[in-house]
């Protein structure tokens, strides 16, 4: 249990998707102009990571990784399908995005109208695929750990995008050198936020 909590906290603050690995930067930069919109996208990312990482964990554990097919029959023990993981993961993500979009549209029209435009964008958000790939690379041991990692990474991403959006809203009133405006200053501020987040390094529960 302690491990799971530790993974959760670590993935929010220390291994933050944005500040430590730059994942999901494209939408992070493009959408972070207002707090409201970026919170919507952030929630969508949390949601998708929470679903896709455990699903891909199960696929990785029972289908893709070396010797994973042993539960089907003993003959398949030597099979290693891990080279297929990229295409399987992205297919899972793209189809889950589709399913979630349909389910949300059917059962929660209010949520759909606020998340709606972001859901298709998310299929090609590096943070989502990155979550699954990190899960595979770091070899989380249980479904709970994978879910905690997914949730934590999502929350970390949400935190980062809401933070930068709040700063950018204020930034509109400050006197930034003209060529630095927009993209340049956003990167530099993200870097400074990253340095601040490095203060969490070494925190353990």
């Amino acid at each position: 249990m302690g491990d799971t909590v530790n993974i959760f906290v670590r993935s929010i603050f220390i291994d933050n998707m944005i500040f430590a690995y730059f994942l999901g930067m494209c939408s992070y930069i493009a959408v972070s102009k207002s707090v409201k919109v970026s919170a919507g996208l952030g929630v969508a990312v949390v949601f998708m990571l929470l679903i896709t990482v455990p699903v891909n964990y199960l696929l990785n554990r029972y289908v893709l990784s070396s010797g994973a097919l042993a539960w089907v029959s003993a003959d398949l023990e030597g099979v290693d399908l891990s080279f297929l993981s990229f295409i399987v993961f992205i297919a899972v993500i793209a189809s889950i995005v589709q399913i979630v979009e349909m389910v949300v549209e059917r059962f929660a029209p209010a949520l759909y109208s606020s998340l709606g435009i972001f859901l298709p964008l998310i299929a090609v958000n590096c943070a989502i695929l990155g979550g699954s790939l990190f899960m595979q690379e770091r070899g989380y041991q249980t479904l709970g750990e994978a879910a905690a990692f997914g949730l934590g990474s999502g929350v970390g991403w949400l935190l980062a995008i809401v933070g930068i959006a709040a700063i950018r809203e204020k930034l509109a009133y400050s006197n930034v050198p003209a060529p630095l405006r927009g993209l340049g200053i956003t990167f530099i501020i993200t870097g400074l936020m990253g340095i601040a987040f490095m203060g969490f390094m070494g925190v353990k529960l």
């Binding site: 430590a20 994942l23 340049g184 990167f187 993200t190 870097g191 340095i195």
Partner: protein, 213 residues
Amino acid sequence: MEKEPLFSAKNLKLLTDPLARVNPVTALVLGVCSALAVTVKLEPAVVMAISVTAVVAVSNVIMSALRSTIPNRIRIIVQLVVVSLLVILVDQILRAFAYSVSKQLSVFVGLIITNCIVMGRIEAFALGNKPLPAFIDGIGNGLGYGIILVTVSFFRELLGSGTLWGYRIIPSSFYVANGGVYENNGLVILPPMALILLGIIIWIQNYKNGRYS
């Protein structure tokens, strides 16, 4: 239609425009995700740049060749399949011939699939143009991405480790440990500095191009 030469002015423009003026990373904000994580050292950055260039160029050609046969509704799925197949190829090639670099790049090879440059160029260019211009456009954008990667990693490796491509540039006798006065800048190695360096590159580029309000 008249057959146009390989390096007509139009094709040349396709190749050179993404290098500086409409650079995919700094002007269009595409593919930043992976651009920064692999820039601690020069070598993985160059390998990454070559991989992305190959994937963009080839996927552009394939999608451009298929563009009239794919129904519009399912084109994203088709693009994802084509791109992820190419990325699997790149990943397997790297594992076979450059294992240590492939270990350093870790998940970022896989993330080429969701690199917005690849999808962006397919959507914006390959689906509306012939295979040859699409190929040139892919090469140009891959190189434009590569230039940023190489510039950032050049500074990060030089200032952070005192080496370039693993070779020592700043003599070891300069270091404090050996009785000199020099210390590596540890901050440059850390992730946030990549963002700040990129911010500065964008600043200089905007200033030079006069593209600011």
